[in-house]
């Protein structure tokens, strides 16, 4: 419902666009992830396990690609908080997906500095090629396209974040090539950070 007498919320208003999580298959952490959660919990005071809810949810998402109701239930049990506490967090932060996403999530920054440097053209090129609109996944399940707010790389605008790595100074042409590379070479085409620091070290 809207607080305004005449204007109803449109479909894009983020608070109402959220969908409830699907149940998903039964979920427990793999032993390795369970060990990682225990290691993370040691960073916070013993009576403050709730602090680890974000890392715990990242691990759920890493394990099954998105966050399901069963994943939420498991996190609640591990941290000793209620499911509502966890769902509250999941529905707030934009980096948790409550629906399946493609193998590569393309997040195109749409805020000012990227926008004045042609971010819309990049989005448009991806839409045209994959025949999807922002928020959708292509039928083959390879790509999900998102338009996101400022990623903090305004000097290398426009930036497209593919999963966790940035691809900077994109144009309609370079993003086309990027999609080709991702399809052909998979994860190894993710060049990551612009300075390639990890590889250099």
């Amino acid at each position: 419902m809207s607080f305004h007498p005449k204007m109803a919320y449109d479909a894009t208003f983020h608070k109402s666009a959220r969908q409830l999580e699907d149940e998903g298959p039964p979920f427990v952490y793999t032993p390795e992830r369970r060990a990682r959660i225990d290691e993370i919990l040691a960073r916070y005071p013993p009576d403050r396990k709730r602090s680890a809810v974000l890392p715990a949810l990242y691990l759920v998402q890493e394990q099954q690609g998105y966050v399901t109701a069963n994943g939420i239930r498991h996190v609640a049990e591990v941290l000793g908080i209620t499911r509502a506490d966890v769902e509250d967090v999941v529905s707030y932060y934009s980096m948790f997906f409550t629906r399946p996403v493609g193998r590569f999530v393309l997040s195109v920054c749409r805020t000012l500095s990227c926008a004045v440097n042609g971010a819309e053209r990049v989005t448009e090129a991806i839409c045209d090629r994959l025949r999807i609109t922002p928020g959708q996944t292509d039928p083959l399940g390879n790509f999900t396209l998102l338009e996101v707010e400022c990623l903090g790389a305004c000097d290398r605008a426009p930036v497209v974040m593919v999963n966790d790595s940035w691809h900077e100074r994109q144009t309609a042409e370079t993003v086309d090539k990027l999609l080709d590379d991702l399809l052909r070479r998979g994860e190894s085409a993710l060049t990551g950070c612009h300075l390639d620091i990890e590889k250099r070290a």
Partner: protein, 431 residues
């Protein structure tokens, strides 16, 4: 001024401990541990260091306010860098992570904390991996952990990864997020210095702020204060982006003017264009006009000119930029990022955005301009945190300086500027 914070940022392996130790790394921590915590706070106060996150509040005072009678105490380092146009902390953490770790350790020592949490935004995953490795190195070499350098002082630094929320950059919202809740602000007072993380005294400091602390300890507060104009001492990182030839992070003293930063460091606007407006401190601050470019880029001078230095995110806009479009773009951001806690902001940002969309599409009415002002007046100053004021600023500042553009949109029933950087499809809608 020669760069200090970013002196080695372009050199390979500048992020390794080995490199850092070859460049006087952790000397400041060694020196700090020979002094009393109060002396460190006095040094920081004497240096005049002001918070680099946006508000420009004196860091030494913030540390002094931390309640020293209650334990444990915490440092929360704000690495959520989300203000549109800001990308300086990213560079520091990516190229000089040990400087931040050293700053965290000295900060902890000064306020008597044993734990610092670095709250890094979720989108900075590649930076986080660099920072994590640096923290590991620091532990292995005894710069973090138990009994640091034999002083008896313990300090742990942990990274906490956010998950995509601009509001988490607000200090109390950051603490809520650290506690495992939605990043929504708390009522203030009490301030975090008294009641912060887990209800304990906490100092929340920006990355760049903490990176300045080792410099102050190593080279002295007098040296530091003398780098810039009075009360605006020290080196400052400026993020220049938008319509400039060489966007990037530039380090200068606060004696520098906006013109030097834009035309000198960043190479000016592209050929054949003219500068139309400058946002000097991130999307939440008022616009400055081309005749104000000779303003010194310091906290005080920019405030005097009618804007704020904020996070020193200078977004340059040339004559191809439609100011109604700009307001619409930024309100889309604020509408999306409003945390939803306060009704005026949650509802009002959506209304503002939709009215701006209508005007930009050419469907606006003259009375919408008054409606924009009145909705803005009902958000600004009526919310728990500064987000509300930030969100209405793009509307009010464009209305103030570019009201004629709004009127032209309404009169002609279309956007009067068809910018070449805008996607063809959207431009077609405008035609």
């Amino acid at each position: 001024m020669d760069p200090v914070l970013t002196a080695h940022a372009r050199e390979p392996n500048s992020f390794t401990l080995d490199f850092y130790l070859r460049h006087e790394g952790y000397d400041a921590l060694k020196k700090a541990l020979t002094k009393k915590p109060d002396e460190i706070i006095e040094m920081v106060k004497a240096s005049g260091l002001r918070g680099r996150g946006g508000a420009g509040f004196p860091t030494g005072m913030k540390w002094q306010f931390v309640d020293k009678k209650t334990a444990p105490r915490y440092i929360a380092c704000n690495a959520d860098e989300s203000e549109p146009g800001t990308f300086k902390d990213h560079l520091l953490m990516e190229r000089n992570p040990h400087l931040l770790i050293e700053g965290c350790a000295i900060g902890c020592y000064a306020i008597g904390a044993n734990v610092a949490y670095i709250y890094i935004r979720g989108e900075f995953y590649h930076v986080q991996t660099i920072l994590e490795r640096a923290i590991g190195e620091a532990y292995r070499h005894g710069f973090l952990g138990r009994n640091i350098l034999g002083s008896g002082f313990d300090c742990d630094v942990y990274i906490h990864r956010g998950a995509g929320a601009y509001e988490a950059g607000e200090e109390t919202a950051l603490l809520e997020s650290l506690e495992g809740k939605r990043a929504q602000p708390r009522n203030k007072p009490p301030f975090p210095a008294l009641v912060g993380l887990y209800g304990k005294p906490t100092a929340v400091n920006n990355v760049e702020t903490l990176c300045n602390v080792p410099l102050i300890v190593a080279k002295g507060p007098e040296w530091y204060a003398a780098l810039g104009p009075e009360k605006n001492g020290g080196p400052k990182l400026y993020c220049v982006s938008g319509h400039v030839k060489r966007p990037g992070v530039y380090e200068a003293s606060m004696n520098v003017t906006l013109r030097e930063l834009i035309d000198g460091y960043a190479g000016g606007v592209p050929e054949g264009r003219t500068l139309k407006a400058v946002i000097p401190g991130g999307s939440s601050v008022p616009i400055l006009m081309p005749d104000q470019l000779d303003t010194q880029a310091s906290f005080d001078a920019i405030q005097k000119a009618g804007s704020l230095l904020g996070s020193a995110a200078i977004v340059v806009l040339d004559d191809t930029t439609c100011m109604v479009w700009l307001a619409e773009n930024l309100l889309h951001f604020y509408r999306h990022e409003s945390c939803g806690k306060c009704t005026p902001c949650r509802e009002g940002t959506d209304w503002l955005h939709r009215i701006l969309q209508k005007i930009e599409r050419g469907e606006g009415r003259m009375r919408d301009l008054d409606l924009l002002s009145s909705i803005s007046a009902n958000i600004g100053g009526k919310t728990l945190c500064a987000f509300g004021d930030a969100a209405v600023t793009p509307v009010l500042t464009t209305l103030k300086h570019f009201r004629h553009e709004y009127e032209a949109h309404i009169r002609e029933g279309r956007c009067t500027l068809t910018a070449e950087w805008r996607a063809t499809k959207r431009a077609a809608v405008h035609a």
